[in-house]
């Protein structure tokens, strides 16, 4: 019974959170502005998790992550807006079309991630950083030249399908999938590469293969996040996904803490909400960008590893003992909590 409860409890918590926010909205404590900030926070959390898989768990250094986001955004928007005609889709077909768009966005980003990953992940450290930076810029420059998708003018008329429920759903899904990946055999191989690539190689781990796996996986998540983003904004243009966006994501990641999913959630949420929250403080409004930057400096001074560097909420990790709950060896090694009274 207990493992089942342990599995259901977080899901119930998420459902309760959703209804709490919907209730706060219905009694007008929260308005669409708050909801939208939360939706952007959700997208940023997904992007930070995606970046964390590459930078935090595999120890590579990608600084062109907005490139994957833009590929996902354009991929999804092309499916929903250009192939299925945007607003003219029948109401009952909107959700399948939307999901198909997100899937397409993820696949496009993932495929490009594979294409980029194979030649570049043989590089290390600074060199990989330069290549990924160049990748982000190449994507942006290319999108600016493609006339059918609006070129530099950007794409307009994307139906605003994304709502708070979808964002919450995808954030939770990303968290579950990312957690299971990290604590799987493949995830452990990635962590081994991060900790010491030569040692991992010596232990028989195919380092290039695992680096590519984590890179493609992260690109897929970034693509889906980009698709969600496009359907919140209903307007995208290549310059939205510039290096500034990539560096914002790096800030979310390092302020939250690398190698920690909790950190990604906290970093993405806090640093998206903070600049907006500062708007409401009367005279401080003109100083809000300064306060935001000072907050970052303070975080990095007092928590050099980020807010949650290396730490994880119990929900977001799989303890070793849980792995043996299903008594894979013999009846004697059953976990104490499972023993019949």
């Amino acid at each position: 019974m207990k493992p089942l409860i342990r599995k259901l409890l977080p899901i119930l918590g998420v459902v309760a959170l959703y209804y709490l926010i919907m209730y706060l909205k219905s009694i007008k404590v929260m308005n669409p502005y708050h909801i939208q900030v939360l939706m952007f926070a959700g997208v940023n959390i997904m992007m930070t998790i995606s970046l964390n898989i590459v930078n935090g768990f595999t120890g590579q250094f990608c600084i062109g992550h907005a490139g994957f986001m833009s590929l996902g955004a354009y991929g999804a928007s092309i499916v929903t807006t250009m192939i299925f005609g945007g607003f003219s889709v029948a109401p009952n077909l909107r959700i399948p079309v939307f999901l198909l768009g997100l899937l397409a966005g993820g696949l496009v980003a993932g495929a490009v991630g594979l294409l980029i990953g194979i030649p570049t992940l043989k590089l290390k450290g600074d060199y990989l950083a330069i290549v990924t930076l160049a990748f982000g810029e190449i994507v942006r420059a290319t999108l600016r030249l493609i006339e059918p998708i609006g070129a530099a003018r950007g794409m307009i008329g994307i139906p605003p399908y994304t709502n708070f429920a979808w964002v919450l759903f995808f954030v939770v899904l990303t968290l579950i999938v990312a957690r299971n990946f990290i604590y799987s055999k493949h995830g452990r191989a990635c962590i081994a590469i991060r900790d010491n690539e030569i040692a991992a190689d010596a232990m028989g781990i195919n380092t290039t293969k695992y680096k590519i796996i984590s890179f493609v996986f992260a690109a897929f998540i970034a693509g889906v996040a980009g698709g969600l983003y496009a359907h919140i904004m209903s307007f995208i243009q290549p310059d939205t996904f510039s290096f500034v966006k990539s560096s914002d994501l790096l800030v979310y990641l390092y302020a939250g803490g690398t190698g920690s999913l909790t950190g990604s959630v906290l970093g993405g949420l806090l640093l998206t909400v903070l600049p907006e929250a500062l708007r409401t403080f009367g005279n401080l409004v003109n100083w809000r960008i300064v306060i935001y930057a000072v907050t970052l400096v303070i975080i990095m001074l007092y928590r050099p590893l980020g807010l949650c560097g290396g730490k994880e909420l119990p929900l977001l990790k799989i303890n070793r003992k849980h792995l043996y709950e299903k008594s894979i060896f013999s009846k004697k090694s059953v976990h104490p909590s499972e023993t019949p009274n």
Binding site: Y33, Q36, A141, A152, I232, M233, F235, V285
Partner: protein
């Protein structure tokens, strides 16, 4: 006879009393909020400063009057200023905040097409009128019937530039534009179309990408080699001064023609008077415009901001605000829908840049001014061009 006189005088007194009573008893309605969205920080902070200053001038005028009178009720007006950092996603946040949290009756700004293209759908679905100040992209008002603008549109500017160049006798032209920027690209396309239709020849077209480019020598060398009679440079405020300097350094001595983005004193200051003299640009407004309303605005602005001369950003922000105020004054019902209807019906409103009528597609019908830099690097009024 006497009786009639008495009755008459009593009647006159009585009506006087009623009218006095009705004046003193003018009701005060609830305070109406107007949202102002501008890039107070970020890459376009300079434009943001002028926008805020322009609207503050209107705010002072309204405060002096106590508010806006609609149908005998005086509504005090409060302005809510928000920073959009010149970013699309921040603009959508700001629009949400203004519409749902501050519950504004209408929004002035932002100044960039890309920002209002992202946020416009929010205003449209909430049914809140929004007036872009410098949003010259045609697609902006196509979002829906709650979207307006205070400026003329990109094709019109390109057309004016082409007509002007052809009228001055320039038979060949070259273009340097930013292919990553919708504004720049829009002007370029309209210019080429109109100029070629008139019989002109584009001898060289050079593009660059991104606002962080600082070196235009490669493009300008090619333009210099093509020997055009004028060069059209419809680029952004922070790029133009460097381009002017580098164009002169590359031996391009022909007049340079620009769009309304050149319309800031800083362009001439940074580029240098010896480089910029003889160049012309299209502007929504000229401070030298002899029109009395324009002169009053310029003088008020100078008095309020230590002799600073208003640019198009300031004028258009002021005018967008003034259009909204005029609409509140004439609205049949003082709510968002009523203000929208009144906005669409504005006719012959006398504003600093001229007489403004809101056309059928919610684009204002108004003239453009052509300004030329003299030897001291000061832009002087050359002529007015009407559509």
């Amino acid at each position: 006879m006497k009786k009639i006189n008495v009755i008459l005088s009593v009647l006159v007194l009585f009506t006087l009393l009623i009218s006095v009573a009705s004046v003193t008893a003018a009701e005060t309605g609830k305070t109406l909020k107007i949202g102002v969205v501008s890039p107070i920080s970020g890459s376009a902070a300079l434009a943001g400063k002028y926008i805020v200053n322009g609207v503050k001038l209107l705010e002072n005028e309204l405060n002096a009057a106590g508010g806006v009178m609609n149908n005998g009720v005086l509504y005090p007006i409060e302005f809510v200023y928000e920073d959009n950092e010149a970013k699309e996603d921040i603009t959508t946040n700001v629009y949400q905040k203004l519409i749902y949290q501050d519950e504004v009756i209408g929004i002035v700004g932002p100044d960039m097409s890309k920002c209002i293209l992202a946020a416009g759908t929010i205003a449209q679905s909430a049914g809140c009128p929004a007036i872009g100040t410098f949003t010259t992209n045609v697609a902006v008002t196509q979002i829906g019937d709650y979207l307006f603008r205070a400026c003329f549109i990109d094709p019109f500017q390109g057309q004016v530039a082409a007509t002007f160049a052809w009228g001055e006798g320039y038979k060949t032209a070259a273009v340097l534009y930013n292919n990553a920027d919708a504004y720049s690209k829009g002007l370029y396309e309209a210019f080429v179309q109109s100029y070629e239709a008139l019989g002109g020849k584009i001898v060289e077209t050079q593009a660059y990408s991104g606002a962080d480019v600082k070196d235009y020598n490669v493009q300008l060398t090619k333009i210099a080699a093509a020997k055009p009679e004028c060069v059209f440079m419809p680029n952004l405020l922070n790029e133009v001064p460097l381009q002017i300097q580098q164009a002169r350094a590359n031996g391009i001595t022909v007049p340079l023609i620009g769009g309304d983005s050149w319309d800031t004193p800083e362009v001439a200051q940074v580029a240098g008077a010896e480089n910029i003299k003889g160049s012309v640009y299209i502007s929504a407004f000229s401070p030298d415009n002899p029109d009395p309303i324009a002169q009053k605005f310029v003088n008020d602005f100078k008095t309020a901001y230590n002799g600073d001369v208003p640019n198009s950003n300031a004028v258009l922000a002021y005018e967008a605000g003034a259009m909204l105020v005029e609409a509140i004054k004439n609205a049949k019902t003082v709510d968002r829908a009523g203000v929208r209807d009144a906005l669409a019906q504005i006719q012959g409103l006398a504003l600093p840049s001229g007489i403004v009528t809101v056309g059928e597609d919610r684009n204002p019908i108004k003239g453009a001014a052509i300004l030329q830099y003299n030897d001291q690097g000061v832009a002087t009024f050359l002529k007015n061009v009407n559509p």
